[in-house]
């Protein structure tokens, strides 16, 4: 099983969610996060005062899928989250050793 963690622009979340749904993927965990990579923060000067956001708001998606679906998910995210500008985000891939459904103790891919 593969865990896919994607940090994307918040404004692209709806598009990514729709794209994943079209690919048959519905289960995910979504978190509001802050951060930046190469993208600089944002400073707004309002009435003589500076309001800086060094850590910019982003949205993190986490999905665990069977290995055979990993590339499908990655492609869906890449296509729908991309704007071409710095700040589009990143995708991280890792292996998952086991998954267990709490309700009935199902294990493995059946638990996804």
């Amino acid at each position: 099983m593969t865990k896919i963690e994607a940090i994307i622009q918040t404004s692209r979340f709806e598009a990514v969610k729709d794209a994943l749904k079209e690919s048959g993927i519905e289960g995910m965990t979504v978190t509001d996060v802050r951060g930046h990579g190469r993208q600089k923060g944002h400073t707004e000067v309002y009435r003589g005062r500076e309001y800086s956001m060094d850590l910019l708001p982003k949205t993190k998606l986490e999905l665990v899928v069977p290995d055979r679906l990993a590339e499908t998910v990655i492609e869906a995210i890449l296509k729908s989250a991309r704007t071409g500008k710095i700040g589009d985000g990143k995708i991280f891939i890792s292996r998952v050793d086991e998954a267990i459904r709490i309700r009935n103790a199902e294990r493995g891919e059946d638990a996804l």
């Binding site: 622009q9 918040t10 404004s11 979340f13 709806e14 509001d32 802050r34 944002h42 707004e44 000067v45 309002y46 009435r47 003589g48 309001y51 956001m53 910019l56 708001p57 704007t83």
Partner: protein, 884 residues
């Protein structure tokens, strides 16, 4: 009969009876039968066990009595509730003699599947209030003898408890209050939960019990055994007709749901989970015989009933609370708030003129009093209002004059405790009468895991959330508090909040549209002026836009900011929409407005505010093109403007589009008339003509000048106002393609000159006209000696900030100044700009508390300033303002 045989027989009897009771409840949904049935079963079992286990001691001195307590005592034994029993003994020898049988009793009860708690006490021990165990003393109020020495039971009921209640009334009531407060605290002091606890949460069955106990203690203390005329089973008889009936119905509903939960869960679990709500609705639990309800409708019933029980409990406790004299002396300091109509006693409002409650405006003035002082109504005042409403038939038709009602409602909305007043009005049905649109959302449930509150509760919380902002001490709330302080008509913002979600209870897929249509009906009825109706309608129509922009757009993308800013179009609408969004999100559930979200909201607000300040001249009106849609809409929508159409076009040509947003159609028509009159004078040969008009507006003054542009014009006009001692709070200056200048100033009359000397208005207008055409210099007007006083008034220190931007306008250099506000500031700034030979294409002036925020669109020689020129001007302004 041996114990084993007895146990076996009783076990079969209990199992059969339990199955029968459950089957009967499933078939008929009759909770009263289920509770009575289980109580009777417990009685039979106990009597059987006692007759076998206990020694026969028929009513001799030193005997014992078995007494039911708690829900068992009330004959309301829920399927999985504990069995609370008191083994009351006359003396210690009696207690010793039944120690072993009592232990056997408990063992056998547990063997039979009853979760029994048997407490032993001597009769004399019941005669003191147990401070470390108040629950026991309170539980005695539910006592019901089952078997044993009847004289002992009678002694407890008729002698011990009445004396205890009379002697320890304050301790009983205080314990009830503290236990309730602690219990409510565990449930967030709210009855609104996604999965409410039917027993312990506010509005639950325990609150009903508290009302019964408070009544019992009070009646016992007053009347001894005579205080319970129908025995110990009908406390409702003292609650009043309206509330009593509603409370009984509420109890029956929630009791039925609790029975359902117990049978479903198989244990004493009183949490109405999300899934079980659906099942309960489908089985019409609590409404036997009714068709299955949609879950939202069924939960709506639940919340209405919970609200009734919460109100009952609070009301009963209010009636019986006796406070220590020191506290009542403290509370009574607020009695000085009393006036001819209302008196204040122990933090409660009483009405001195009950007959006047039939007058709708007097009734509203009572709520205005509540909103101003943050005081609850006394129970008797509420009763008087209920009776007055019923007699006058207010629920059917509010008899008050619409505009007067609207004026009072707006006053209520603006006051610090508006939330409290609105809650009381809602509770008593007055809010629904004044604003029938609100009826649609009474206890309306939006059933998802995000909306915790019913729609009416969400609305009231939103209003309270805004009123709480001035007390904010930390960012980002503090920043929103600053915005609120700048809003010119906050009552309209609160009115928009009150109506923003009423559409959710109306037919139609789109609640925003339904709410908007409801506002279009309500606002004119309440006497709002056309521009006020438009403003409220705009806020409601767009109340989700800012939130959607946060979610779906990159708020750091200038294009996204531009689109949003052009939707709001004016700084005032932006401020109000931002605050409405803040309040709306914040009151969805306690966690909905995260610091992250609040920060994002603030960033979008600041970006949009900056865009609006720096984009005044991006687009200008072009009526001659015939395709200026927005302009055409404004003209067609106003009879005053439609009649002027063609000559109006020349007047408007070249004004920034912002002009249409900042002024109502009536104002534009009036200003056009000024321009036409000026034109007539110029044509007639009066080459030094200028037109000026003055009007009073909400305690301030608005002065408009229409004249031909000339150098140092703005400096001259601000100089006159400064010389007169007027503090300019807002100003805008626009010019059209024909070189006509329209300057508007909103100012405060620091010396109250104009109010005290109305004839001075003409003189001020004359001075303004003279200054506009250069007929006189402001220096010629005797200067008011206000500078020293004004400086002493303000101790704020604020560094002057000047910045410029050559990129946001195609034709002008935009300067932004932030400085400590003081009389004469704007005149000083405009003099410095005039000295630097800058032409003012447009100006936006605003004041935020001690801070003046001014934006100027400047050119020199018809062009933008170069970077070097702008930098030099910046330094000149900083030097000139810091010196002045």
């Amino acid at each position: 009969m041996t114990e084993a045989v007895l146990l076996d027989s009783l076990r079969r009897e209990c199992d059969a009876a339990r199955r029968a009771l459950e089957a009967d409840f499933r078939a008929r949904g009759d909770a009263a039968a289920a509770l009575a049935g289980r109580t009777s079963l417990a009685d039979r079992v106990l009597r059987s066990l006692v007759s076998t286990l206990f020694p026969a001691r028929p009513e001799a001195p030193g005997s014992c009595c078995l007494i039911a307590l708690g829900g068992y005592g009330r004959r309301a034994l829920f399927p999985c509730s504990d069995l609370d029993v008191l083994l009351l003994c006359a003396d210690a020898p009696a207690a010793d003699s039944v120690r072993a049988p009592a232990a056997a009793l408990v063992r056998m009860l547990w063997d039979l599947g009853w979760r029994a708690a048997v407490t032993s006490r001597l009769l004399e021990e019941c005669d003191r209030f147990e401070l470390d165990n108040p629950e026991f003393s309170i539980s005695l109020l539910d006592n019901r003898p089952i078997t044993g020495d009847s004289a002992l039971g009678a002694a407890l009921r008729q002698k011990i408890l009445p004396a205890l209640a009379a002697r320890e009334h304050a301790a009983f009531v205080r314990s009830l209050a503290e236990m309730t407060r602690e219990r409510h605290g565990k449930h967030g002091h709210t009855l609104f939960h996604l999965e409410p606890n039917l027993k312990d949460a506010p509005g639950g069955l325990r609150d009903y019990d508290v009302a019964c106990w408070a009544t019992a203690v009070h009646e016992l203390a007053r009347h001894g055994t005579q205080g319970r005329p129908r025995g110990w089973t009908a406390p409702e008889s003292g609650w009043g007709e309206l509330l009593g009936e509603a409370a009984s119905a509420a109890y029956r509903f929630i009791a039925a749901v609790r029975v359902f939960l117990h049978y479903h869960n198989g244990r004493d679990d009183n949490r109405l989970t999300y899934d079980l709500q659906e099942e309960a609705a489908g089985r019409s639990i609590g409404v036997p015989g009714a068709e299955p309800l949609r879950t939202e409708e069924w939960m709506r019933l639940y919340f209405r009933h919970a609200r009734t029980i919460a109100r009952l409990s609070k009301r009963r406790m209010d009636e019986v609370m006796a406070r220590p004299s020191l506290y009542s002396a403290f509370e009574d300091w607020r009695a000085r708030l009393s006036n001819a109509d209302f008196s204040v006693h122990r933090n409660r409002v009483f009405c001195r003129r009950p007959a006047a409650l039939a007058d709708p405006l007097f009734l509203l003035s009572l709520f205005e009093f509540v909103a101003r002082h943050g005081l609850e109504l006394a129970v008797e005042t509420e009763s008087m209002i209920e009776q007055a409403l019923a007699r006058a038939g207010y629920a059917a038709q509010w008899p008050g004059d619409g505009p007067s009602t609207g004026t009072q409602l707006r006053r209520i909305l603006h006051l610090p405790s508006a939330g409290l007043a609105l809650r009381v009005m809602h509770r008593l049905g007055v809010l629904d009468a004044v604003l029938p649109e609100f009826r649609a959302v009474d206890a309306l449930v939006i059933r998802d895991l995000y909306h915790r509150y019913t729609v009416d509760e969400h609305t009231l919380l939103a209003i309270e959330g805004l009123h709480a902002l001035p007390h904010a001490t930390f960012d980002p709330d503090r920043r929103f508090a600053e915005i609120l302080a700048e809003v010119e008509q906050p009552d309209l913002l609160y009115l928009a909040l009150l109506l923003h979600d009423v559409g959710k209870g109306m037919p139609g897929e789109n609640h925003v549209l339904s709410s908007f249509e409801a506002a279009e009906r309500a606002c004119p009825r309440l006497g709002l002026a056309p521009y006020e109706c438009d403003l409220v309608a705009f806020l409601i129509r767009n109340h989700l836009e800012m939130s959607l922009t946060l979610q779906r757009r990159d708020i750091f993308d200038p294009e996204a900011v531009r689109v949003f800013s052009e939707l709001v179009a004016t700084p005032e609408r932006l401020k109000m929409l931002c605050l409405l969004t803040y309040a709306d999100i914040r009151s969805v559930n306690p966690e909905s407005l995260t610091p992250w979200k609040a920060e994002m909201l603030w960033q979008l607000y600041a970006a949009a505010a900056n865009y609006l300040a720096r984009s005044v001249d991006v687009t200008r009106l072009a009526p001659s093109s015939g395709s200026d849609r927005e302009l055409l809409e404004v003209v067609r929508g106003s009879p005053a403007l439609a009649a002027l159409a063609k000559p109006l076009a020349a007047f408007l040509d070249g004004f920034p589009r912002r002009y249409l947003k900042l002024h109502s159609a009536e104002e534009i028509a009036a200003q056009f008339e000024m321009a036409r009159h000026l034109e007539e004078r110029l044509v007639a040969g009066d080459l030094h003509a200028a037109e000026a008009q003055l009007r009073e507006r909400r305690g301030q003054y608005e002065l408009t000048v229409v004249t031909r542009d000339r150098p140092r014009l703005f400096a001259a006009l601000t100089g006159v106002l400064s010389s007169w001692g007027m503090n300019i709070l807002k100003a805008d200056a626009f010019s059209n393609r024909a070189g006509l200048v329209l300057d508007s100033f909103v100012f405060a009359d620091l010396y109250d000159t104009l109010r005290l000397n109305p004839e001075e208005r003409g003189r001020l207008l004359g001075d303004m006209e003279d200054a506009a055409v250069g007929r006189s210099a402001p220096e010629a007007i005797p200067r008011r000696r206000f500078a020293r006083g004004a400086a002493a008034r303000s101790r704020a220190t604020l560094a002057t900030e000047v910045s410029f931007d050559n990129s946001c306008s195609a034709t002008s250099t935009v300067f932004e100044l932030v400085a400590r506000d003081r009389p004469g500031l704007l005149h000083r700034i405009s003099e410095l700009l005039a000295d630097a030979r800058c032409n003012m294409e447009a100006a936006l002036v605003d004041t935020q508390g001690e801070k003046a925020i001014d934006v100027f669109y400047l050119t020199r020689g018809g062009k933008k300033l170069s970077e070097a020129e702008a930098q030099a001007l910046r330094e000149s302004l900083l030097r000139g303002l810091d010196a002045g």
